[in-house]
């Protein structure tokens, strides 16, 4: 037996490789903090000889302290197992002792980046139950040791009696050692298809943001980027340059999103276990994320215009997490087909979960209001173009207005909601479609709100909060909103099923 090779009852350190990881982590934080100063130092005018020397000493001192700190942190970090508790001791000056009973451990996830792969170690993340307790991680543990540790914890955990089984089965959280059936595996071709059909607008805006940020930093550092663009007459040569810039920009966005997709989803595989889902992907940093059925609060899927052509959806399983609600704790799978989505919802909610849901439209005024308010954005452009006699701005303003009017129409047409006895479904989208589904009992609280306009027209917004984010149904007739609220509350309050 492998696990007999390791005695976890003796306090021990992580693999020595962890020093590297901790140093890397510390430096990354440090560099992020002092980056603007570094830029100033290397390229700025302020690098006068005397100041520069001091600055160099300062940086070296910080680097040295960071190094020593990391090494000390490593040597002062012990973990061991005592009966059925995992105990972690750490702290350079003050010692802190963290005790994690096995039954609190929800999932154990592994992660490896290139350095990990090189030294055959793993980063081990332990996610614990409870809202206030934070999760913790080991930076690097030898691979076989990590597997042995996980096996040991899960084995001991499964032997533990579930603490006062109240509706939820604690034993069910032992998710390893179960059979995994593969739901989806993305091949390289799938991956490229997913990359091509990405939302390029988003990549574009990321690039724009990065450029802006760099520009800003350079300017702060005393480099005048504007002097390179001074010679260009903004109107005459401007149009050609603008168009070519736009073309370059589009190509860049496209390549960037393709690159990002491959990086993030390379070798993606998505499994179903007995009581949860697991996904693993990543080119350099391989990442494993698991989600247990009872932790999943919402399931949503969406596509866009391009994805519609290839028939792909992006599926996301949003789970409640002990840390603040964020994207990290939800499983995102691009390149899902309809039948795979059906498989997932069938596994989670049963085979006819969405039957007899009658989708209802929201009030037409949702569209009118959006049209009026959003197209107001175009007016300053038109005014500017009119008074400055620049036809370009007038065209831009009109295009903006038409865009907002058309999109408001689409938004309204796609915005629908409905429910049956168990599930709530909300549809939306702009050019693509989006569906969000959640079991009614996952509701945490519900908010009815009205603007003065909505009060006059007897309309209301219904916002449903869950432990993994919220969904809003806008512009529902007031009576309908009340009926919906009453029904959802009745279902939630009369059921003794756990939301987690």
């Amino acid at each position: 037996m492998k696990k007999n090779n390791f005695d976890f009852t003796i306090p021990q350190r992580q693999s020595y490789v962890a020093i590297l990881m901790i140093v890397w982590k510390t430096y990354r934080i440090l560099i992020r903090q002092v980056f603007p100063f570094l830029v100033i130092f290397f390229v700025g005018k302020s690098a006068k000889s005397g100041f520069g020397d001091y600055f160099l000493y300062f940086v070296s001192a910080i680097a040295l302290i960071g190094m020593i700190y990391s090494i000390l942190a490593f040597f002062r970090y012990y973990f061991h197992i005592e009966e059925d508790k995992l105990i972690v001791e750490k702290g350079i000056f003050g010692r802190s002792k963290t005790i994690i009973p096995f039954e609190r451990i929800q999932t154990i996830n592994f992660e490896e980046n290139i350095a990990h792969q090189l030294f055959s170690v793993l980063r081990l993340k332990v996610d614990t139950a409870g809202s206030s307790q934070k999760e913790f991680e080991f930076d690097a543990i030898a691979k076989d040791q990590a597997y042995a540790l996980r096996e040991l914890i899960l084995e001991k955990k499964s032997k533990l009696k579930p603490i006062a089984a109240k509706g939820r089965s604690e034993a069910a959280t032992v998710e390893e050692k179960k059979t995994y059936t593969s739901i989806l595996k993305l091949s390289i071709i799938d991956l490229i298809k997913v990359g091509i059909t990405e939302n390029h607008f988003r990549s574009g805006s990321l690039i724009l943001f990065a450029i802006y940020w760099m520009w800003d930093n350079l300017r702060e550092a005393g480099i005048d980027a504007e002097k390179y663009t001074e010679g260009i007459d903004p109107l005459a040569g401007g149009v050609i340059i603008l168009i070519s810039l736009a073309v370059v920009f589009v190509i860049l966005s496209f390549l960037f999103s393709l690159f990002r997709t491959v990086l993030k989803y390379y070798g993606l595989e998505f499994w179903r276990s007995d009581n949860g889902f697991k996904i693993s992907s990543g080119l350099f940093t391989k990442k494993d994320v698991s989600a247990l059925d009872h932790k999943i609060q919402m399931v949503s899927w969406s596509d866009n215009l391009l994805r519609k052509i290839v028939g792909y959806y992006q599926l996301s399983l949003k789970q409640a997490s002990s840390i603040a609600i964020n994207n990290k704790s939800s499983i995102n799978i691009p390149g899902c087909r309809q039948d795979q989505i059906d498989m997932v919802t069938r596994a989670l909610y049963g085979s006819r979960a969405f039957d007899d849901i009658e989708m209802e439209s929201v009030d037409k005024r949702f569209m009118y209001r959006r049209m009026v308010f959003l197209s107001l954005i175009g007016i300053p452009f038109i005014a500017l173009g009119y008074f400055d006699t620049k036809p370009f701005f007038i065209v831009l303003g009109v295009v903006l207005m038409i865009y907002f009017i058309v999109t408001s129409y689409f938004r309204y047409k796609k915005c629908k909601f409905g429910h049956n006895e168990k599930m709530v479904m909300i549809r939306g989208g702009l050019f693509g479609d989006k569906a969000e589904t959640l079991p009614i009992i996952k509701l945490q609280n519900i908010e009815l709100s009205q603007s003065p306009y909505q009060r006059r027209k007897k309309l209301a917004n219904v916002k449903i909060y869950t432990a993994a984010g919220s969904v809003t149904i806008p512009y529902v007739g007031f009576d309908r909103a009340i009926r919906l609220t009453d029904y959802l509350l009745y279902k939630t309050e009369s059921s003794n099923k756990r939301w987690m």
Binding site: L443, Q444, S449, P452, S470, R483, D486, E493, N496
Partner: protein, 174 residues
């Protein structure tokens, strides 16, 4: 074993429309007026200090506008204190607690007892002077959705908290 499973018509469900809200303590209005005053003074003090420190006369040159803007903001805050107080209200039902608020944009939030994680009673320094407490009710729905009922007498807040505790405990037993 007692078991019933009658069909329930949607129209027979208890409705949030029928709720009679209880208003909060009137002293809460005074508290929010004082808070608004402090806020307005701080707003005024920031440009003033910057000006004095930098030796600029900008502040005094534009004193009319600045005072005007401050008065407008202050007036609005005072109005908000009055209207906000009038529109705040809470209610308890057998299985949930409801809090409504807002003057221009109105909202009411309903938290079922079987979703409450924990409750807290909070008292700011000014609230303490007026003998008021704030009841905070936390769910797993995230900080933006937590209920905060201000302007309660400490006694009321405690009773509400105890009541909720009993309700939450009963739900866990079931």
């Amino acid at each position: 074993m007692e078991f019933s499973n009658q069909q329930i018509e949607e129209s027979e469900l208890p409705s949030v429309l029928d709720i009679k809200y209880r208003s909060i303590q009137k002293k809460h209005r005074t508290v929010s007026i004082i808070v608004s005053t402090i806020l307005a003074l701080i707003l005024l003090a920031i440009p003033l200090t910057i000006n004095i420190l930098s030796g600029d006369t900008w502040f005094f040159d534009h004193i009319i506008y600045i005072v005007g803007i401050c008065c407008a903001v202050y007036g609005f805050l005072i109005l908000l204190s009055f209207k906000g107080y009038a529109n705040k209200g809470y209610a308890m039902r057998e299985r949930d607690i409801i809090f409504k608020q807002g003057w221009i944009w109105r909202s009411s939030t309903i938290v079922p007892f079987n979703r409450i994680q924990h409750t807290e009673i909070d008292q700011g320094p000014i609230e303490r002077m007026f003998g008021l407490s704030k009841l905070k009710i936390f769910t797993a729905g995230g900080s933006s959705s937590d209920l905060k009922i201000p302007g309660l007498l400490p006694d009321t807040a405690n009773r509400l908290k105890d009541y909720i505790q009993i309700k939450v405990g009963r739900d866990e037993e079931e």
